[in-house]
């Protein structure tokens, strides 16, 4: 391949390719997906329709799409603070879990009390829990120079085991017939529903506010500028005298808090209690959302909807085509492969060798 096609570096990265590559990646994913469906003996156009169109063809479907896109967009927006600064926090799943434990803990403790203060208390506790859990890799990185990729990942599995311990142990519902779940939160511990009869909840509003807030930080504050510069050129950041450790701590804190909020949004929103599987991999999938959305607020909103659709489509594919719901993961993996691959075109031109 190297002999036929030559890579010519572009002077500066191509802005149009930067925006087109994700679209291109989605297109290639759909193409590959239909080939996979065909090979498995399904009619590709019918399968794609069941997967991507029928799940969102009514109000309930749209609401479900938003229910799933909400945590994804929120976590991805938080992660962008880390990724922009070239910090690889890949433990958002753990920070989400800690948010659910802290926030949900408040909900369980006050399950029989009715007060308007409970939900705000849960939300604050959840954000704190996520931020605290994210402080660990930040502290280890700044103090001991440890690789945050490995520590944040390991901490994600530790958090999941702590959750597991709580729901089978001390927090198990006394009236729950020994099922590994906590007692349900009281009415005061639930996110308000936005539309009667649908599951979309107040977490969506929180997410939109925080995305706007992030956009403001990036485009209007010195802090946002410093984050971008130190990610783009660590040397320039050093010369300019930016406080590197402060940037690391704040990027981790913000992404941890956002993931923690997503966790509390899940348990106090659609779920209403804590059990083992509160998150279908949202913390890891949000990494895909963040990359697909180019770390940009609008891009992340768009990408969260696309990836949320892979979750919904997978559920429908299981229901109507008897394809395992894990097929959603196939699409998520593919879209990231194609995106990472087509990213080459942002910085290089392809030229035929003659």
């Amino acid at each position: 391949m190297e002999k036929l096609i030559k890579l010519v570096p572009r002077g500066s990265s191509s802005q149009s390719m930067f925006i087109l590559a994700p679209i291109f990646a989605i297109f290639l994913t759909l193409l590959t997906g239909s080939i996979i469906f065909f090979l498995m003996g399904y009619n590709p156009s019918n399968a794609l329709k069941i997967f991507f169109i029928s799940p969102i063809s009514n109000a309930y479907g749209i609401s479900e799409l938003l229910v799933k896109a909400t945590p994804l967009a929120l976590i991805a927006m938080g992660l962008s603070f880390c990724f922009k600064n070239n910090i690889y926090n890949i433990g958002a799943e753990g920070q989400l879990t800690m948010g659910a434990i802290f926030g949900g803990g408040v909900g369980i403790y006050f399950y029989d009390i009715s007060s308007v203060l409970i939900l705000p208390g849960m939300i604050i506790a959840g954000a704190l829990g996520g931020a605290l859990w994210a402080m660990i890799p930040a502290l280890l990185k700044t103090k001991f120079n440890t690789n945050e990729i490995l520590t944040s990942l390991m901490l994600a599995y530790i958090a999941l085991l702590i959750l597991d311990y709580l729901v089978v142990g001390p927090w198990r519902d006394p009236d729950g017939f020994n099922f590994p779940k906590t007692r349900p939160f009281g009415e005061s511990g639930r996110m308000p529903i936005l539309f009667q009869g649908l599951r979309i909840h107040f977490g969506l509003i929180i997410t939109l506010i925080l995305i706007a807030f992030s956009w403001f930080i990036y485009s209007k504050t010195i802090f946002g500028f410093q984050l971008k510069v130190s990610g783009f050129s660590p040397k320039a950041a050093r010369f300019a005298g930016f406080n590197k450790n402060f940037l690391i701590f704040s990027a981790f804190a913000i992404s941890g808090a956002f993931a923690g909020l997503a966790g509390v949004g899940e348990v106090s929103g659609p779920i209403g209690l804590i059990y083992r599987d509160i998150s279908p991999n949202y913390g890891f999938t949000a990494i895909i959302v963040c990359f697909l959305g180019r770390l940009h607020p609008l891009g992340i909103i768009f990408a969260s909807l696309v990836i949320a659709l892979t979750y919904l489509g997978a559920e429908d594919a299981q229901l109507f085509l008897q394809i395992p719901a894990a097929v959603g993961f196939v699409f998520q993996g593919l879209v990231l492969f194609f995106l990472l691959g087509s990213d080459l075109l942002v910085n290089f031109k392809l030229r035929l060798n003659n």
Binding site: M1, P9, I36, M40, Y88, I90, L140, K143, F144, N145, T146, N147, I149, L150, T151, L153, M154, L155, Y157, I158, L161, I162, D164, Y165, V168, G169, N281, F284, T285, I287, I288, F291, Q322, I323, P324, A326, V327, G328, F329, V330, F331, Q332, G333, L334, L336, F337, L340, G341, D343, L344
Partner: protein, 285 residues
């Protein structure tokens, strides 16, 4: 009784040894592949389906190894030729592997097979570790792989083909992960179940760090981690009340501790982690 416990530990730990020793070689060459879990699952399902269809262990082994080469080859192509981010590509590989293995194996959940005795592969796992130890200490090629992982630009200036060496290292890692998957679905389980690797890929990844990138310590770490897991199950069987989750946390906690110990000291991190880990290589820069 002692023999019984040793036997159970040996049987349960071998997939960790295979996957970790493969990843060790990959990381020694300067590449971090987070796709272990996905490659193990695909290796496991392709072995299982092949065995059901052909009734041949050899065919199952070959197809499983090929699946590992294809998965890791895809990863290698993206990170080496298209210079994609290694962390993101590795995660994509795991997510993709979880999905595609479930799809392929759907029809075969619960299909009974005659399992293969694990002892042959257990012996092989020891031999592979010993060989890799020898490879890095005594052979020229081993030193070249290390050089590529420590300083790819110097290795390139000396005339070594960095991309080719990394490609082959990644393929070896893929084959070893697939072998771990083969062992799991054919010898250990023996059956196929969605997501049956159940996080062992991440433990294998932790093991490489625990071993501070030294092959012989992979065995030590694997048998400590494996031993603790088995002990926990036995203690619970005897009615000792202790939450098993805290035992299961140990590999992750110990890995963080090891990272702290080796990273705090500049000299020690130099002696352990490959310097070019996760850095992309472009010979034109």
């Amino acid at each position: 009784m002692i023999f019984g416990i040793v036997n159970i530990i040996l049987i349960g730990t071998t997939p960790l040894v295979f996957a970790a020793i493969g990843e060790l070689v990959v990381e020694k060459s300067g590449v971090l592949n987070l796709g272990l879990e996905g490659m193990m699952l695909v290796g496991a399902v392709s072995a299982f389906v092949t065995l059901v269809l052909t009734d041949s262990y050899l065919a199952a082994l070959i197809v499983s190894l090929i699946s590992g080469l294809v998965m890791s080859g895809l990863f290698a192509f993206l990170v080496l030729y298209l210079m994609a981010n290694q962390v993101a590509t590795g995660l994509a590989l795991t997510i993709f592997g979880i999905g595609i293995s479930s799809m392929i194996g759907k029809k075969y959940v619960g299909t009974p097979i005659d399992g293969l005795s694990p002892y042959f592969l257990i012996i092989i796992s020891f031999l592979v570790v010993i060989f890799i130890g020898y490879f890095f200490k005594k052979t020229k090629l081993g030193l070249i792989v290390k050089a590529v992982g420590e300083s790819h630009h110097s290795a390139h200036s000396l005339g070594f083909n960095v991309i080719k060496i990394r490609f082959i290292s990644i393929l070896f890692g893929g084959a070893m992960s697939a072998l771990a998957g083969f062992y799991f679905s054919i010898c250990y389980a023996p059956m196929w179940q969605e997501g049956m690797i159940a996080g062992r890929g991440w433990i294998a990844l932790a093991l490489v760090v625990f071993a501070t990138w030294k092959p012989e310590r992979i065995l030590l770490g694997a048998y400590i981690f494996g031993g603790v897991a088995i002990m926990q199950m036995n203690l619970q069987a005897f009615g000792v009340k202790f939450p098993g989750q805290f035992f299961n946390m140990m590999p992750y906690l110990v890995t963080i501790l090891v990272l702290v110990i080796i990273s705090g000291n500049k000299l020690r991190i130099k002696l352990s982690a490959p310097a070019c880990l996760t850095l992309p290589f472009n010979k034109n820069q």
